[in-house]
Subunit: 212 residues, 2 copies
Amino acid sequence: MTAEAKAVTPASPPLTERQEARRRRILHASAQLASRGGFDAVQMREVAESSSVALGTLYRYFPSKVHLLVATMQDQLQHMHTTLRKRPPAGEDPSERVAETLMRAFRALQREPHLADAMVRALTFADRSVSPEVDTVSRLTTAIILDAMGLDGPPTAEQLSAVRVIEHTWHSALITWLSGRASIAQVKIDIETVCRLIELTAPEKAGSQRPG
Amino acid sequence: MTAEAKAVTPASPPLTERQEARRRRILHASAQLASRGGFDAVQMREVAESSSVALGTLYRYFPSKVHLLVATMQDQLQHMHTTLRKRPPAGEDPSERVAETLMRAFRALQREPHLADAMVRALTFADRSVSPEVDTVSRLTTAIILDAMGLDGPPTAEQLSAVRVIEHTWHSALITWLSGRASIAQVKIDIETVCRLIELTAPEKAGSQRPG
DNA sequence: GGATAATCTAGAACAAGTTTCAGACTTGAT
DNA sequence: ATCAAGTCTGAAACTTGTTCTAGATTATCC
């Protein structure tokens, strides 16, 4: 727990306490409904009712269903990030650690497949109007992966490319699993395959392999 | 691989000529509307009107908007596959050839960004009910990549994994570009990065990889 | 404490995807 | 040519995301 974990919402006008509470209620209702039946089960009228908020207010907080679900994903990712940090992966080299971390995240998603469905579908369906929020999710994901790599210094440009490709694979593999076109085993293989890219971008010299 | 290009539609009952014509009109209208304004511009009522078909009939041919757009993508991919085959990529090794092919495909999509938007969004938004059609698209994409690799024999399991990861990256990178979160240059880098995976899976020794 | 602006509520209204249905038209078999 | 089965049309209805409005509530500032 360092000094980050804010700027999740740009906070143009800081929210009052009751507003913060409303926002929480909405996100909670969203996650709950999503857990039940995925993307389709998150119906704006129901979210509004579940969170005791008028429909118009819901739309003031989240200007579309996709915005709402992407915000829900931000929320969940944040939880996951702190959870993952508590027990860092134990692998020898960065590529193993990243694969291990992503598989751990994957297993977490498996526990709520409908929720995962809603969030990921929203994420990839988002159009330009949601770009800032999607970008936030992307940065969170990147942070998780970089954390898992456990680099000493800042990543090289090559490493950032590899991380982006890993993220691409992660999202897309998740989708193929969610829509029943790939098995869990297959996702695992794909993740492990793409993580080998990290090896390609490791500094050539044998050297400091820091765990910790 | 010459005797393919069928089974695009399972053809449970073979279509009459007029039906085939209707199907063509529908797909054409779909692509036309998509080219204009992307996913949102493909409105079922308009597609029906443009193709001179009743709304109910449109739904008989394509049970949802997503089905329609995924079928549109099948159609376009088929065109692209035959186009790409006319001038095979010239790179030295497989990974270069694949990257070159994908970038060529990418440039083709750039010419109709709205159409690309509609097709790709539909593809990643598709739920289980569209799995067979999405799978067909996936197989077509795989075929294009394998073609570009120009292997002698059948691909190894490792190579197939690499191809799947490349596909993942391709779709996801396309989405980030379409939603304005990545530049064309960035997509190029990502594609080239992931294609290096192919080098990793090249058989170490010159020799046959064939199990009996 | 009261004026004023911002926010919230309830509910109607609108838009586009999807379903349904009665009646007209095709097709295939006899 | 005729009948039955299947298909197509036109139009209405239904669902759910989104927008809008008028009035009630809350927050802010003097």
